[in-house]
Amino acid sequence: MENSREKILKVKHLKKYFNTPAGILSAVDDINFSIKKGETLGVVGESGCGKSTLGKSILRLEEPTSGDVYFNGKNVTKMDKRELKQIRKDMQIIFQDPYESLNPRMTVSQLIQAPMIIQGIYKKSQREEMNKKTLEIMEQVGLARRLVNTYPHELDGGRRQRIGIARALALQPKFIVCDEPVSALDVSIQAQILNLMQDLQESMELTYLFITHDLSVVKHLSTRIMVMYLGQMVEMGTPQQLFTNPLHPYTKALLSAIPVPDPDIKMQRIQLKGEVTSPINMKAGCRFAKRCLFAKEVCKKENCPLVDVGQEHYVACHLVQQK
């Protein structure tokens, strides 16, 4: 149990179900993992796999249906309003859409100061100090001083996302959920933001939960990667483990579908049957079985537990375990 001391976040049996007219949608279904301090855990999966819901349930922006989230040993899911407000200083989120996640009626400085005022870090009399701090944060995230009084709509996507990052940093958090922070940005800007996030991680000893659908980005940033399919974790390991030795058929298919930016490497795509459906009224059995090329009888009937196949490389697949 020596390792557990440096584990900053532990997620146990986390579930988030939604009631929909069609039935119960299990967006996050029994997810377990932990993140060590200073680590980046990448979460990949296709739209609707529950990766965003997972991030938001950890922060209790969505109330989890059941399960526990321990942050530095404290159970976030059991916290009352006051404790939750306190813990928000340590746990922050960067949103996907820099156009939607900023209040259009606030200027850049107001946007960055709002978290500090809400959390009472600065009193009314400390306006000057807060202004100074705001400029410091802006410099840290690469926003020019002259932008303090601009409105977000006057800025491009890259700068807006820098504001989003500045807002998260304003509270000096220890852990940040990054919910597709670069998906809406152009490639050249995307690289700037990714570098910024790496720099901040080093200088502020941040821990990231990095949610994305882009496998190249997740490979570039992550210490470990978790692959999700219909609300469940199907595989988890280091980028090395996943990209050189993917075990789950879904991970394999996902990897084979990425277009490689090199005309000499021709893709050998693993064809999947059908499409991702919604995890509504799920029955027992592997959720990927319907689309899996290798599915056997057992896959359709029994849930497959997550097992360690060596060196903390986890996979949930009957076929791998039978070997």
Partner: protein
């Protein structure tokens, strides 16, 4: 005469802030059966160019200042609207980015494909419907679902319906504007594979507009890199991916994390795309280029041929690009 030839096309948008020079002196040509990738960032003018070929630019704001677009020898820009309408769909078809808004929610998908067929071919309803069902099968949707409405389909299937509509009349030229941006990777792969298959079957040409270098590498034969309304580099997919010359092209490659290589840190292009109302006087990329000289700021570079069929718009003639990449 080439299959499609675009000569010195210039398009402006008149906005409240001023005149936006969206497309500046673009020359391109496309052979029959060829697939061309148009690569560039938001606002580079890729979509504007595509809409200009289709002649569907918003009339109130867009202004085509000069240029010609020859399709099989006729200048599309001088064509009667009536004639253009016949060409649209039957000869040239376009697939838009968002499959959610491109379909009419109150018509069944079968009816929508049949309508596209009847717009260009004189066939009766039953025959058009039969053709629609064939098209659906072709894009991998069971014909039985032709009587369903768009909302009953998933995003990937809707995009396939859009493709079926575009391909219903066997167009000779298909323009696909970010056809898979809204889709997941596994679906993206399916859709592109399907477009490629149909393209070879029908021997049509393809213009693929995208920001994803991977898609271009896997699907195109030639590539044009566009920056601020100009072609900055043009060549075969090998020229661009293996022998890139322009600092911007190099910057694009160093910006993306690659699945097949490990880099500790990305090398982004510094700064932001220039304000389209106030573009730099000289080279449009000079504000972000690490090798820009005084000459670059004041004079506008012309395209030069670095090797057979490989054109670059840069005073550095390739040296800058190489240095950039080795940073």
């Amino acid at each position: 005469m080439a299959f499609l030839e675009i000569n010195k096309i210039n398009i402006d948008y008149v906005t409240e802030d001023g005149v936006v020079e969206a497309v500046n002196d673009i020359d391109l040509s496309l052979k029959e059966g060829e697939s061309l990738g148009l690569v560039g960032e938001t606002g580079a003018g890729k979509t504007t160019l595509a809409k200009c070929i289709m002649r569907i630019l918003p009339e109130r704001t867009a202004r085509i200042n000069s240029g010609e677009i020859f399709y099989k020898g006729t200048d599309l820009l001088k064509l009667e609207p009536e004639k253009m309408r016949e060409i649209r769909g039957s000869e040239i078809a376009m697939i838009f980015q968002d499959p959610m808004t491109a379909l009419n929610p109150v018509l069944t998908v079968g009816e929508q494909i049949a309508e596209a067929v009847q717009n260009h071919q004189k066939v009766d309803d039953a025959e058009a419907m039969k053709k629609a069902e064939e098209m659906l099968e072709l894009v991998g949707i069971p014909a039985a679902r032709s009587s369903e409405y768009p909302h009953q389909f998933s995003g990937g299937m809707r995009q396939r319906v859009v493709i079926a509509i575009a391909l219903a009349c066997n167009p000779k030229l298909l323009i696909a504007d970010e056809p898979t941006t809204a889709l997941d990777v596994t679906i993206q792969a399916q859709v592109l594979e399907m477009i490629q298959k149909l393209r070879t079957q029908m021997k049509s040409s393809l213009i693929l507009i995208t920001h994803d270098l991977g898609l271009v590498a896997q699907n195109c034969e030639s590539v044009a890199v566009i920056y601020a309304g100009e072609i900055v580099e043009y060549g075969t997919v090998h020229d661009i991916f293996k022998d890139m010359k322009h600092p911007y092209t190099v910057g694009l490659f160093t910006s993306i994390p690659k699945i097949n290589e490990d880099v500790k840190r990305l090398t982004p292009i510094p700064g932001n795309t220039p304000d389209p109302v106030h573009l730099p006087k000289g080279c449009k990329f000079c504000t972000r280029c690490a090798y820009a000289t005084e000459k670059c700021q004041n004079e506008h570079p012309e395209l030069y041929q670095s090797s057979e069929g490989h054109f670059v718009r840069c005073f550095l003639k390739g040296q800058g690009g190489e240095k950039y990449g080795k940073q």
